[in-house]
Symmetry: C2
Subunit: 339 residues, 2 copies
Amino acid sequence: MAAVNLKQLAKILNLSISTVSKALRDSHEIGDATKERVLAKAKEMDYTPNPFASGLRRNKSKTIAVVVPEVANNYFSLAINGIERIAQENDYHVLIYLTHEDIEKEKGIMKHLENKRVDGVLMSVTMNTSNQTHLSDFQQKGIPIVFFDRICNEIETAKITTDDYISGINATKHLIENNCKDIAFLSLGDEISIMQKRKSGYLEELHKNNMEAKPERIVKCGNDDEMNYQLVKELLTGKNKPDGIFASVEKLAITTYQVCRELNINIPEEVKIICFSNLETASLLSPSLSTITQPAYNIGKTAAEVMFKYLDKNKTYIPNENIVLQSTLHIRESSQQIV
Amino acid sequence: MAAVNLKQLAKILNLSISTVSKALRDSHEIGDATKERVLAKAKEMDYTPNPFASGLRRNKSKTIAVVVPEVANNYFSLAINGIERIAQENDYHVLIYLTHEDIEKEKGIMKHLENKRVDGVLMSVTMNTSNQTHLSDFQQKGIPIVFFDRICNEIETAKITTDDYISGINATKHLIENNCKDIAFLSLGDEISIMQKRKSGYLEELHKNNMEAKPERIVKCGNDDEMNYQLVKELLTGKNKPDGIFASVEKLAITTYQVCRELNINIPEEVKIICFSNLETASLLSPSLSTITQPAYNIGKTAAEVMFKYLDKNKTYIPNENIVLQSTLHIRESSQQIV
């Protein structure tokens, strides 16, 4: 005798398929009495959920997915290590998906994950993720998302970040204290909230010091390394170049080093540099690179801990929560005034 | 009316379940006549394979898995980018799994993948993968594996590597030409074939130059960064230290730089360094680092191309093939004699 399927189970219970499905998913839309009745009948009829139907919490896949822009980046690879540590403790597998900063790819991955057996998704969105319909649609399927680093404010769930605004202020303040009079900000796009916060910190500190925030000093870089190189080269060519650079992400600092080498610009004598970075070789560079170092490993670890707190209770709904972990300023040669 | 399952299909055909399963998987163990009979009957009876049964090539998941030791490593992150490029062209998703050099974790992942719908696996084994039963067992399930970089010679399939032996010779030769008289080799374990090849190149070149290969000059490092630091520190402490170091992997060169900084040892005056590396910042280090740069992106790309060549033909059996892509020697400051 074949076991009943979802349709048959719904008929026996005299409920709609959607109601039974939601009850099995522990949706908040369904009352406790109905949930209990559905679960009891499902057990009685030996109902085996279709393993490809998503969000059936009683049928855990013991798998979580991590969706990030790239791994050729120390921040994300460290965050993944933090996630893996917690997943391992919980006897879970981790699947990693890369979006390569492509919003269409991100949409495709979320579509793919809907039909896969994953219990939850930890993610950092692409630099171009402004519309979030694909993410709210995904949540509707009953699979929880937790954001880290590149979050979506509009989506209700837990979000783990660092203190981007304060760090933006501190980095800019440090450059000003080291006698920079004309500081440029290298941004990665301008859609995502962490960029806006870092930039706000930069603008706020300039304002506080009565320094003009010239629009041409905010350079909007992107995912094309060659284009970024050209943009930074333009910025640093000619007499009217800035004397300080605040790079919002690691790769733009490396690009700046490469451009300075090509143009024979001395760091820090002619231009001082500081950046958000988890580069392992920061202290070994010539000159050593000043960084705002994010607690990447702990951010990943915390995101996973929050996810498992809810998965353990079979909850697919995670309420809004903002967890902010502090970054640390590491002052090295690249940003210091030589006296 | 419910569709037939594998058991019912086998009964109708008067064949064993195993034979029908193998026929559907296009196994070379089954003759063409039987395969045709099975496929025709499966079609007639509207047989839908269980999506969790592995290796049913007719029911493609459009997903491949990549299993690698880590991503906090430029080689693997570049190789993954090469794989993703080809997967994208083929409209496939890529799942990435990390073993963290843990053979038990690798076994667990392969077990997990058996039950997942992936069409193929591209992998680089852990530094401790000496026994390969879990990999040959996996192949038996009808899911093809292609190895890249860290391969298993015993497993029959395509293997993509770089010219590790020749590169080992070239790196050692370069140090000797730059007047090194006592060269140490930093190994990552000694189980995997690429390590053995790099070491063989080193030993061969010493022998050719009538230089003694002292056992204590071969330092077996591992996955514990602190232990590696201590091992390199011991090597470089005291008067009897080597004047050349050939690091078999990138992270051991970074460790060597850090140790030299702590012990105030000048590179390249007191000790010269060269290593296998895809470090983006190699030329920006102080001093700039000489590297044997592997074509990481192309190795990943080639591994994926080979996989898709067979997947396109619905073949799950990939014959033995060794594809070797050349590495390039980049001589920078760290290994050169100062005249």
